[in-house]
Every structure is written in C-alpha cells, then in structure tokens.
Amino acid sequence: MTLYLYRLNIILPEADKDALNALMTAIGEEGDSEAASFGIPLSATGQEPATHRGASGSITEEMQVLIMDIFVAEFANCTIEIWPHYMNNWTEFLAATGLKVIEPKDI
C-alpha cells in the first residue's frame, strides 16, 4: 500500500508564500526540496496580481500530522482540506474558495 495516504488541497496568502515554501522543505520527504510547492497563482478575478497561491498533491501520514497538528500557527492563514489519497478534487476545492487561477489569455 502506498505511503502517500492523503491528498492535500491548500490555498495560502501570497504574503505567506516564501515562508511556507521554506517550511515545506522541512515537512517534505528527506532529500527533496519543496521550495516550489505553492506555484499556482490565484486571485478573485483571475487577473494579476496574485493574492493567493495554491497547491494540490499527495502527502504521507507524517506530512499530514505536521501540517494539521504541529505547524498549526504557521498554516493558520491557509485554507486546507485533507482527503483520502484517491480523491482528486482540486477543481471543486478551488471553486468553493471563489478564487481563480491567473492564466495567460492564450499562449
């Protein structure tokens, strides 16, 4: 059975991005950098500037405990959902927050 038992959906204020990216390096699997954890740019209108950042992905039991029970104060400004790992509901989670991804009109 996989060790990655949970799906984490998370949205954080843009101002907290650097600190929480650094914190994720301590929370994440040993040996891997997590400095780019929060790369989805978000705002209420879907236009620049980004007011929030988001991420969604699978995490281990240990990471889940660290995020939900240990670093409570550090994640206090975040909107967080934890789901079983087989869930893939980022789109629904994002829609419920009222935020939109900032995307170029086309490429």
Binding site: L8, M24, S37, G39, S56
Partner: protein
C-alpha cells in the same frame, strides 16, 4: 495453415522479430508502465511499488540520460496500476503536477517526432499543456518551444514556437486512451491519431530569441516570468508512454512504432 490441434505450426507462424523503440534512436522514452524505471524521490533511489505512489523520478529508457524528475512532493504525479490493458500509468491531477527533463530537442530543431500514449479525461474546458521546452532562467515573455497542447473541442495541437507566430497544427481527438503522433519535418506537419493520419499542414518556425531553451516539462505550462515559476494550464489525465525523436520518422518507422504501442496498450 492449422495443424491437427488447431495451432499455427511453428514453422509457418506469424512470428516477427521483436521490435524495440530503441531501434529508432529516440532522444527520450518515458514508459510509465515500467515500474522498474519509476521512483518516488527525485534522486531515483526509492522505487515506486504501490498504486498511488508519487513519481519523483522516471528514468529515460532511450539511453540519453534525459531522466524526468520532480523534487516537490505536491507537484509529483501519481503512479496508478491497471489503467490500460492491465498496465500502469502516471496520473496528472490537473492542478500542479509536472516532471522536468533536460532539453531533448535543439532550440532550432524543425525535424522531430513526438509520440504520446495518454488516457484523456473530460472535461476539456481549458487549455492543457502536455509537453513544452522552456528556459531554466527567469525569462519575460515566457518563451517556449516544441509544445504539445490539449485544448477544448478537444484536440491536440502542436507548435514549435507559438509566440513568434508559428503555425498550430491540430487534430481532433476523443476521450479515452489515445495514441497520438506528431511529425514535424521541416515545414511539413502531421498529426496521427490511433494509427491513422488525422491532419496535415505546413509551418514550423523555430525559436530565435536570445533566451536559451534548456529544459523540458511534462504536464504543465511552466511560466518562467518569475522564479519560482508559476504552474498554469495543467494537464489532467494519465500519461502512459511518451517518446521523442530528433528526426521526422518515415511511414515505415511510424507503422512499426505505432503497432508496437498499440499491441502493448490495446488502444484501437
């Protein structure tokens, strides 16, 4: 001719010499059904062993060392068992999953072939990036090259370098597992879907800016306007296998490769 027990005699069988994509000298070959090439960490030391494991490293089977990696846990695609014909595949979640590789095609290369086996999910409500090459350095204007995009309709489209006005070549596809091949031979373009030609066209400008395109991305549009880069237009669905060739394969080579992949994945 059948023998008395209804079996094709060995001497007259339809046996063929085993084909390997390596005979066509790919510059990149990622096979997400081969779990021995997949690891959960980006250093390639912890093997993927179970359904739902993250993919932090996918070894390049071409022999060119263009291994695909992802060092950020939340950005790692997942390995899922028994996705197509009993084989496993990578799952991109449509939020921020991607793998990074060294650049596999030269910046000015207009003769190349990309072959993708993917299980496409609906809805196709937005542009999705399957593959692109981008700078590693912060670069305003977000230059990129050699992309494969999945857009609404749905359809695949490819372009060597859209920002300079390159010409899209598109092919309509439907959901489910698809074998898609894009062949760019100079200014000649062709999409093949499920073993048949889907569309042809002409065009194919190359990136001529000053920014060096020196990494490849599988599964998202990596916007290098700022560092760390933002991730937008994320692909949602399974990627089963992906090959890149630094030449336009001819009809015979494509038939060999597509037959091999279809026999393996049972697509059409």
């Amino acid at each position: 001719m059948l023998n008395k027990i209804g079996i094709i005699p060995l001497g007259q069988s339809r046996r063929r010499a085993a084909f390997s994509p390596l005979s066509l000298s790919p510059v990149l070959w990622l096979n997400f059904s081969d779990i021995s090439t997949l690891f959960t960490d980006s250093a390639g030391t912890i093997p993927v062993t179970a359904d739902g494991d993250v993919i932090g490293y996918a070894a390049d089977k071409s022999g060119n060392g263009n291994h695909a990696t992802q060092a950020t846990t939340l950005n790692k695609p997942l390995w899922k068992a028994a996705i197509q014909n009993g084989l496993g595949a990578g799952l991109w979640d449509g939020s921020n999953d991607y793998l990074l590789m060294p650049r596999v095609l030269a910046q000015a290369d207009t003769s190349y072939t990309q072959v993708l086996v993917a299980k496409l999910q609906s809805p196709f409500s937005a542009l999705r990036l399957v593959f692109q090459q981008v700078p590693t350095a912060q670069s305003s204007g977000a230059p990129f090259s050699h992309s494969i995009q999945l857009t609404t309709t749905p359809l695949f489209r490819a372009d060597t370098f859209p920002p300079s006005g390159g010409t899209f070549n598109s092919a309509t596809v439907s959901t489910g597992t698809r074998l898609a091949s894009y062949i760019q031979g100079g200014t000649s373009q062709e999409w093949r879907v499920d073993g048949a030609s889907s569309s042809t066209g002409s065009g194919g400008e190359t990136y001529s800016g000053v920014t060096a395109i020196n990494q490849a991305v599988l599964g998202v549009y990596l916007n290098m306007d700022n560092l760390p880069p933002t991730t937008v237009f994320p692909y949602a669905g399974h990627i089963c296998e992906f090959l890149v060739f630094s030449e336009s394969l001819d009809a015979g080579q494509l038939e060999q490769l597509e037959t091999y992949l279809n026999d393996k994945w049972n697509i059409y």
